[in-house]
């Protein structure tokens, strides 16, 4: 909300600087986003009078001017302009001046003659004919401002010296979207009286409003109050200078005297107004619901199709305005308008908001209706508009005002106590202060036998309970008076993290210890990912949640896998010439469970791992996964994965029993190509919810043996397609409880020695007993059993 200082001063005496005022407003809950000084872009340009004009001795087109700028000596300026004569008043840019065009002026010599500045054209001052008559003329701007002493700053001469405060008004303070509303706050803050706007006017008794117009509100549910007045013999012309100036100061373009008055009242009182040309209203004004599919061309010259949830201001034949949002082109003010009807109405807040959003049409008026207009301001707004008509003689005001009020004017009362207010604040604000603050805000407050009764004015419909009152008190009493206490009256609570919350921390710590860096990527992603990753059409991950209005196609669905963002991140690092990366992310994926409003999607916690760079292979990512599984004592098997985005020979599903809890593997070459990557990359995804489910925390101590182990190495030759993991499992089975450890330490291939499509696997075996030393015979018999098993199950031959 932009408010000019001079406008504010109409309603309250301000005896502090703008900066002090801004500070105080911030302290009271009104953020001052900007202090805009008009004319700040023009410096050291003053009003001057040409006292002498002579030709330049060495240049035909130049003239030398002696100019009186209110100082003892004249300044000498050389100009090329031909439209100046002695005695003219002109804008003079002195030495070291700044023009709104950004041009800086310094003294210098023109063809050998000293020039101590520059005479300015309207264009150089960024003035148009609308701003100042004559500004559009080619040549120096000739001014007719004899009332100002020579040497006066041009900003002052042009009336371009106001200060505008841009104030952030919070959604609960709809009453402050107006100059008057802000003035009311300023008056309270500065402890000054508020001067109400002049609403007096004279009427033309010969004309009755009833004879001009009638109003029939057919949808009082959407239009609780409709007031109207009529003005005859209107002369459409530009507004008075002060009205134009003030509208411009808050960013509104002056149009004509009638439209400007509706805008002036909107800004000053906060009441949206509309003016109809009576000539185009057929019969009565009828606020009613629009018919389904009814069309109207609004003042923005666009056609809108309405429905029956929207309010139109119609006549007996057609809609003339979209109520509270925008007037119709068919009944607007034009240069020939003679009789006008002013509308000052209250429309339903929520309904205007819906209409405005449905039509995607916003206006200063709809903004204020959406925030809420109180039932009192229609009269004030209308009277103020008529006052301005009368004051500037823009027409004859018909006698009487139409007022269709469908809602009772009710007082809002809050009954509480000083103790309750102080119990919220935690400090003791004295009774007297509380009463003084509330009453100064026009909240009529009385303290009787410990009961505080507060009656709020209509414009403060946000005051509903003791907390609201407490806020009014403390924002004006001062938040700096709030002291620090630490829940002194609080009950004991336990606090801390749950096991699952700690597990997340543990997983992150394991990852970091394995050299992995955590990434943070968006939860929404592109629906194209499923094709890029060649995910099966039957895969449940293809069923994902879509946003109604995403920021873009590639951020339009909620992800059902972390793989795509992990691969993208690996690829983007690769493209930035980062030679290696080890990355991880913990985030949710979103799996729909039918009707979203019946049952929200399942949000599944997932861990994604991704690595690339020299030294990285399938086993490096497998090692990280194994470390995590070990931490939670999960006994998982790796089986060959059937994933289309993974390398067929180098990928595995991670299974606990029949349940797949994740996968790991090298990326499919085609996927790498799709991401424009030539390095091999490896990813894994683990379902953390399942990890938590299968985690085994029940560990019991096992005594360690004090007897020596017996170690043996064996090497067996098997077919190439025998999996080492299966072989090892077989060895462990054969070894029984005596075999405490078995590990592969070498795999050897050599066609001539071992044979084609064969490999030799060397295994280290450790045997040990807890209660005595093993004998060689015992160990040998176990080894024989192992070899027999290997031979029968895998046709393994001892080397």
């Amino acid at each position: 909300m932009k408010v000019s200082l001079s406008w504010l001063k109409d309603f309250v005496d301000i005896d502090v600087t703008v900066e002090e005022l801004a500070d105080k407003l911030v302290g009271a809950g009104f953020e001052v986003e900007e202090i805009i000084r008009a004319g700040a872009d023009m410096k050291n340009v003053v009003l001057g009078k040409i006292v002498k004009l002579e030709k330049h001795p060495d240049a035909d087109k130049l003239q030398i001017c002696q100019i009186d700028v209110g100082k003892a000596a004249c300044v000498q300026i050389v100009t090329g302009a031909q439209n100046v004569s002695e005695g003219d008043l002109v804008p003079v840019a002195l030495d070291n001046s700044l023009l709104p065009t950004g041009q800086e002026i310094k003294k210098g010599k023109l063809r050998g003659v000293l020039s101590e500045g520059m005479l300015c054209s309207g264009e150089e001052l960024k003035l148009t004919e609308e701003d100042y008559q004559g500004a559009g003329v080619y040549g120096i701007l000739l001014m007719n401002k004899e009332e100002f002493p020579l040497g006066t700053d041009i900003n002052v001469v042009l009336g371009n010296d106001d200060v505008v405060l841009d104030i952030g008004v919070t959604a609960n303070r709809s009453d402050c979207n107006s100059v008057l509303g802000i003035a009311r706050e300023v008056a309270t803050i500065l402890k000054k009286p508020l001067k109400m706007p002049d609403i007096s006017f004279a009427v033309d008794k010969s004309a009755k409003v009833e004879d001009v117009i009638d109003v029939d509100v057919q949808s009082p549910d959407l239009c609780p109050r409709y007031m109207a007045a009529a003005v005859k013999d209107v002369k459409i012309q530009p507004s008075a200078e002060i009205i134009q100036k003030r509208l411009k100061s808050v960013g509104l373009r002056p149009i004509n005297n009638i439209v400007d008055i509706t805008n002036y009242v909107l800004i000053e009182i906060g009441q949206p107004m509309h003016a109809f040309d009576r000539e185009f209203i057929q019969g009565k004004i009828i606020p009613r619901r629009a018919k389904h599919g009814e069309k109207i061309v609004a003042l923005d010259e666009k056609e809108y199709t309405l429905d029956d949830t929207m309010l139109v201001i119609a006549d007996e034949c057609k809609p003339c305005a979209i109520g509270g949002v925008m007037g119709g082109l068919n009944s607007g003010i034009n240069t020939n308008t003679e009789t006008i009807v002013f509308e000052s109405a209250k429309f339903l807040r929520d309904n205007i908001r819906r209409t405005s959003r449905k039509l995607n049409l916003r206006s200063d008026s709809s903004f204020r209706y959406e925030r809420g207009i109180d039932l009192d301001s229609q009269r004030l707004g209308l009277m103020r508009a008529l006052n301005l008509i009368d004051k500037y003689g823009y027409g004859k005001i018909a006698d009487g005002i139409i007022d269709r009020l469908a809602q009772e004017l009710k007082e809002s009362v809050v009954v509480t106590s000083v103790e309750e207010i102080n119990a919220i604040l935690g400090i003791d604000v004295p009774d007297k202060e509380i009463l003084q603050i509330l009453n100064s805000l026009q909240i009529k407050s009385e303290l009787k036998d410990g009961t505080l009764t507060c009656i709020s004015p209509a414009f403060r419909d946000d005051i509903e309970n003791a907390n609201d009152l407490a806020e009014e008190v403390i924002r004006l009493y001062g938040y700096d008076k709030v002291v620090s206490t630490l829940l002194d009256g609080g009950n004991q609570t336990l606090g801390g993290k749950t096991r699952e919350q700690r597990n997340n921390d543990i997983i992150k710590e394991i990852c970091v210890n394995q050299g992995m860096s955590e990434i943070l990527t968006y939860s929404f992603t592109t629906p194209k990912l499923f094709d890029t990753l060649r995910i099966d059409s039957s895969d449940s991950r293809r069923n994902c949640i879509k946003l109604l209005k995403p920021l873009g196609e590639d951020l339009s669905v909620m992800r059902t896998t972390l793989a795509y963002s992990m691969i993208s991140t690996l690829a983007s690092n690769n493209l930035k010439s980062n030679k290696k990366a080890r990355l991880f992310e913990i985030a949710n994926v979103y799996m729909p469970r039918g009707d979203i409003e019946e049952q929200l999607p399942e949000e599944v916690g997932m861990l994604a791992l991704g690595v690339y760079g020299s030294g990285e292979d399938f086993y490096s990512i497998k090692g990280i996964v194994e470390n995590i599984l070990k931490k939670f004592a999960i006994d998982a098997q790796n089986v060959r994965a059937q994933s289309n985005y993974l390398h067929k020979g180098r990928s595995a599903d991670i299974k606990v029993g029949n349940v797949t809890i994740g996968y790991l593997g090298e990326l499919h070459p085609d996927v790498l190509q799709a991401f424009d990557v030539s390095d091999r990359m490896y990813i894994a995804e683990l379902n953390i919810d399942l990890l938590n489910k299968y985690a085994d925390y029940s560990y019991n101590f096992k005594a360690i043996s004090n007897y020596p182990p017996i170690e043996r190495d064996i090497a067996v030759v098997v077919d190439e397609d025998v999996a080492a993991g299966d072989l090892l499992a077989c060895v462990r089975k054969g070894g029984g409880s005596l075999l405490v450890d078995a590990s592969i330490f070498d795999i050897y291939r050599n066609e001539t020695i071992i044979g084609a499509k064969k490999k030799s696997i060397a295994i280290n075996l450790v045997f040990r007993l807890a209660d005595r030393t093993l004998t060689d015979d015992e160990v040998n018999s176990k080894i024989n059993r192992i070899l027999t098993k290997l031979s029968s199950e895998y046709s393994a031959i001892l080397r």
């Binding site: 911030v26 953020e31 919070t170 959604a171 609960n172 807040r349 929520d350 309904n351 959406e370 925030r371 119990a423 919220i424 935690g426 309970n465 003791a466 407490a470 806020e471 403390i474 924002r475 938040y479 700096d480 709030v482 002291v483 620090s484 206490t485 630490l486 829940l487 009256g489 609080g490 009950n491 004991q492 609570t493 336990l494 606090g495 993290k497 992150k508 990852c511 970091v512 394995q514 050299g515 860096s517 955590e518 943070l520 990527t521 939860s523 929404f524 946003l547 109604l548 209005k549 920021l551 690092n573 930035k576 980062n578 990366a581 080890r582 990355l583 949710n588 979203i596 409003e597 929200l600």
Partner: protein
């Protein structure tokens, strides 16, 4: 005899001094103390002495043996030490080369900050509450005193999925769920991802918040200030001060914006705080009794305080990161800065 012994000792001393290797000193040992060593010879010569002279001579010889033994042992130790030293010197390596450790990875700076914040509050008896990111309008807005078509809806644009389902715009939705689920006293913090359709240097369409909620019999605005002051002092530094500015949130009343003294200039004014000395870090307030009632809590008996802050914004302040988008680029060089 005495003379012989004295001479022998003198001779041994000079032999020991002349020894430069363990082999030489061992030879000296053998020469004097060995089975056919000179001192042993002297002992054998004792039988030729008169019996009355024998004890004194024996004592003398024994003393001489002890003395020579001590000297040779000492010398041996010295030489062994020197030999080891020399061996180690030969094995000397470049101690400035990098260690063999597995390189540590890193947590995302936002996680570091979130962890720190959660830690501060869990140590004050708060537990962690979590709720769905895809949320119903009811929990995200209506129960928090933001009815449909209320102007407060303009404060946050929303990603909708259907008319009723949406991506939560704040972690405040967890408040509503927590209050419905548990009875006071409640002390929770709710960290999580939230979503709003903004995307520029200071806004990301997805970001993280931490919401805090206390519901108890006696809760005041002063408690809110004390709690947040303690928090800010732990997160930034002990000198940090907290300032309240009046504001508006539909779910709290009174509502405040909370500023802390700039951690860079300590309130003097600098580039980071745009010369004001203060940095806005969170929004807070006393829970609106209407919200308590909506969530089934007797607002006559209980009061609440709530606060919420953006993790990304706090991370940017804490580490001086100028653009929020850097946090989502995930360049491994950036990530590794945060060990």
């Amino acid at each position: 005899m005495m003379e012989k012994i004295a001479k022998l000792i003198e001779q041994a001393q000079s032999d020991i001094a002349a020894s430069n290797t363990l082999a030489q000193i061992n030879a000296v040992k053998v020469k004097y103390l060995g089975k056919s060593g000179e001192l042993t010879q002297l002992l054998r010569g004792m039988k030729d002495l008169a019996p009355e002279d024998r004890p004194a001579a024996g004592k003398f010889v024994n003393q001489a043996r002890d003395e020579i033994t001590e000297l040779t042992d000492k010398k041996s130790k010295e030489l062994a030490q020197a030999e080891t030293d020399e061996k180690m010197l030969k094995e000397s390596i470049d101690i400035t080369l990098d260690g063999n450790a597995v390189e540590r990875g890193s947590l995302h700076p936002c996680t570091l900050v979130a962890n720190e914040i959660v830690e501060i509050f869990t140590s004050m008896g708060f537990s962690i509450a979590q709720g769905p990111e895809i949320e119903l309008d009811k929990f995200c807005f209506q129960m928090l005193n933001i009815p449909p078509d209320h102007p407060a809806r303009d404060m946050q644009d929303t990603f909708y999925i259907t008319d009723e389902a949406l991506l939560r715009t704040h972690t405040s939705s967890v408040q509503a769920r927590a209050m419905l689920k548990s009875k006071p006293p409640i002390r929770i913090v709710c960290p999580g991802k939230v979503y709003r359709p903004d995307d520029d240097a200071t806004h990301s369409p997805m970001f993280q918040q931490i919401e805090g909620l206390v519901v108890d019999e006696k809760v005041t605005l002063c408690d809110l200030k004390g709690l947040l002051e303690t928090f800010a002092q732990k997160l930034f530094d002990q000198k940090t001060k907290v300032r309240f500015r009046p504001s508006f949130f539909p779910f709290t009343e009174p509502s405040v914006e909370v500023d802390v003294t700039c951690s860079v200039c300590h309130g003097k004014g600098c580039r980071i705080c745009k010369g004001t000395g203060w940095i806005e870090i969170l929004g807070a307030g006393i829970v609106n009794p209407k919200v308590l009632e909506n969530c089934g809590i007797d607002s006559k008996k209980y009061k609440g305080l709530a606060f919420g802050l953006g993790i990304e914004r706090t991370t940017m302040i804490k580490y001086g990161i100028p653009d929020m988008r850097i946090l989502f680029e995930n360049d491994v060089r950036f990530l590794k800065e945060f060990k």
